[in-house]
Symmetry: C2
Subunit: 441 residues, 2 copies
């Protein structure tokens, strides 16, 4: 797989670049904004994720010999544009929401400033990463809320494309999951990994007893035995028979979980295995987790629904030109006019207003004149939402790598506390906070 991320790009970005280099508009200073017109899945809040990955992939956004050869051979751009791309390096600035932050319709999640040429070509990569990761994080946060204090693990790699699976594990962790089954997510992003055995383990052995015995020999009695390959009651009895009452846990991966979990708990208690924990993992989503709140379940494993955004596999964010200089060097706010896809032009600053620690609105200050963008001082009870992510092409190290993931997770769990109670309900509804625009011109 090529290291370069430069061709993870829609062809029209380069076609526009080509034409803009020809007519001179390529050097116009521009402001692009990445935002969502609505929340994925008609939910009450969204979670920003992907920022740390974008910063990493931005470093690899270089047109090397192989990339240039392809563009030349396919006659996608002119020789002049190839020369420009050969030296391409984003030298502009990106401000935006911290990873793990909540967002609402219209929240200016990323503001990318640079010449048209250097900023337009980042559209596809930025949207691919932010749309996928934020969709997963937004779904994962609801599962994390539904799970409460019970541990929650992500194990959906097999239901996501192989590299998306790593990103999904990372996004779920940021939104409060405690671990992942995905080893690459552990290696690349430092996320704790988990997992013991699948049904194949039991089926491989001549008897279920042989499989349990071998697993305990290898992993100790603290391991979790999967007890539903054949008959669940027999599986539970056998597990305790083999491991003793000190068995760490059992996992249930099929059946009507509230019923089965209650039976298994009663059976374990009766056998004296009162400390043996029950993990459930069968097609869970936020609703199934919530429905198990009163059941004797100790931990959840979630697969398909978290990696596919639980019905909303993309956050649907867009990347729009909102301001540019005209031929005289004056700034102009711009926006598409069509009724169903209108957007608000102009550069924006964003704040979350709070009352007694609870969020009350998403306050967005729109300003044509770039010097007058409002500051926090004008809104003393508001938390400013933008931080500097890239300055003159240099990335802020604090948001990158495994440390960036830990910081994003902590930030997410902290700001989630600001949500009003109505934001925590799982049913479809309007966004929990109103987006309030203030024109500061």
């Amino acid at each position: 797989m090529p290291e370069s991320t430069a061709l993870l790009t829609d062809r029209y970005e380069l076609t526009m670049l080509d034409a803009a280099l020809r007519d001179g508009t390529a050097q116009r200073p521009c402001v692009f904004e990445l935002f969502g017109r609505r929340l994925p899945g008609a939910r009450r809040f969204g979670v920003v994720a992907g920022t740390g990955r974008l910063l990493r992939e931005l470093r690899e956004f270089r047109f090397g010999e192989d990339e240039l050869r392809y563009l030349r051979d396919e006659r996608i751009v002119s020789a002049e544009t190839l020369t420009f791309l050969e030296g391409y390096r984003f030298s502009g600035s990106i401000t935006g929401y911290r990873e793990g932050e909540l967002y609402f319709p219209g929240s200016p999640i990323l503001t990318v400033e640079g010449t048209f040429a250097e900023a337009v070509v980042l559209e596809t990569l930025a949207l691919s990463i932010m749309n996928h990761d934020s969709a997963v994080a937004s779904a994962a946060a609801r599962m994390s809320i539904a799970a409460g204090d019970r541990p929650l693990a992500e194990m959906g790699s097999r239901r996501a494309a192989e590299r998306s699976a790593v990103a999904a594990a990372r996004a779920a962790y940021i939104s409060g999951f405690g671990a992942t089954s995905n080893l690459e997510a552990g290696r690349t992003w430092g996320i704790p990994t988990m997992g013991t055995a699948a049904h194949a383990w039991t089926l491989l052995h001549d008897t279920e007893e042989a499989a349990f015995r071998s697993q305990i020999d290898a992993l100790g009695i603290d391991t979790t035995l999967l007890i539903d390959t054949y008959d669940i009651s027999e599986g539970v009895a056998l597990a305790v028979h083999v491991a003793g009452t000190g068995l760490g846990g059992v996992r249930i991966d099929s059946g009507d979980l509230p019923t089965v979990a209650a039976h298994v708990r009663a059976q374990l208690d009766e056998l004296g295995a009162t400390g043996t924990k029950i993990t459930v993992t069968s097609d869970l989503d936020e609703f199934a987790i919530a429905a198990l709140a009163a059941s004797p379940v100790d931990a959840y494993g979630v697969g398909t629904s978290v990696v596919t955004g639980s019905g909303a596999p993309t956050a649907g964010m867009v990347y729009k030109l909102v301001a540019r200089q005209d031929s005289s060097g004056a700034w102009v706010s711009v926006a598409k006019a069509s009724a169903d896809k209108a957007s608000t032009g102009g550069r924006k600053a964003a704040f979350r207003t709070l009352e007694r620690g609870k969020a009350t609105s998403e306050l967005i200050i729109v300003s044509d004149g770039f010097e007058q963008v409002a500051t926090a001082a004008e809104y003393p009870d508001a938390r400013p939402l933008h931080v500097t992510l890239v300055e003159q092409g240099e990335t802020g190290a604090a948001f990158e790598g495994a440390a960036g993931v830990v910081a994003a997770r902590e930030h997410h769990l902290r700001v989630r506390e600001e949500l009003p109670v109505r934001a925590l309900a799982l049913s479809r509804s309007d966004p929990a906070l109103p987006t309030v625009y203030v024109d500061a011109n």
Copy 2:
């Protein structure tokens, strides 16, 4: 990004390997099967995709120094297992459905044979690739059928994680799309790419006219102008004014498309631009495409819905141990027993039965004794579905790279002709063909 694909794996695969190396079952010859219990989205047929990608990534499934260090540092497996993994190379065989082939519930899409140790560790990677790519291909085929002879382009990269976008473009192409916006899909898989300009192009310029003029200067009058940034009627008039009646095309990306397309066509004709083509691209899916069949539309661009599987972002396939040798070396068919996730044990051969060129059933021959697997000779009117993909660790080159994609697309379009008419309807229903199991023991 690491080249190795070995850690794109659920931790429990290695935990099981670790325990199996310890108890001696690791060397048992095994047969794993990759199949779907049902079709994604309650559709009438599924499309197999991802095979060529899997074969490529299988080559990179190696545990190098970095991968081994991570596993050692995190104490995920024992020293003995690390030694095994250091020398790991899949030396077994994989037979399966050709890429682009149709599939139905229970179709044995891949049959992986090898020792438990070498075959179990491929589960996550194989499922990640096949589940994602087949979900996209299965959705894309319906869009391709709905579009009929009108050209259809995939442009959803921004709504899929960055590397999934490349795989999605590839899967859509296999299912009949004609082009993609994704340049990496063009470079890696040889897929034709397309694209001209976004709304940012118009907004960058002082006037819409300046934008159109510049695009035509750069790309010629054969280009496609995006005419809905401000007012569509004015956009159309301006486009023809600037380009003349020889303008190649206009693109509409908003509004109620049947209405707007009719208006735009009438206006173009009135202006004399009778040969100017209309491309529509606003949130299309198979239903919207079908609804435009009678509209004067010349080409479709589809984004979000194709890359997210149009409501079914994963195909939900599983990878199950179906047969293994016991301690005496005899083959034993195995299967999980639970009612909601039961599967059929035993090695399988698969055929599509045909009558007068139309498919009538998915015939699956189940055989415990591996020597008696049925051959095509017993079913003269049936097309055998399995081909050899990997033999003793060696990949069949015909299924790889850009040539493999072309072959898969041709195969898909050919076998789609075998579908009965009822399979082509877009509404939810049962699978178009019954899956018939024959026990050959």
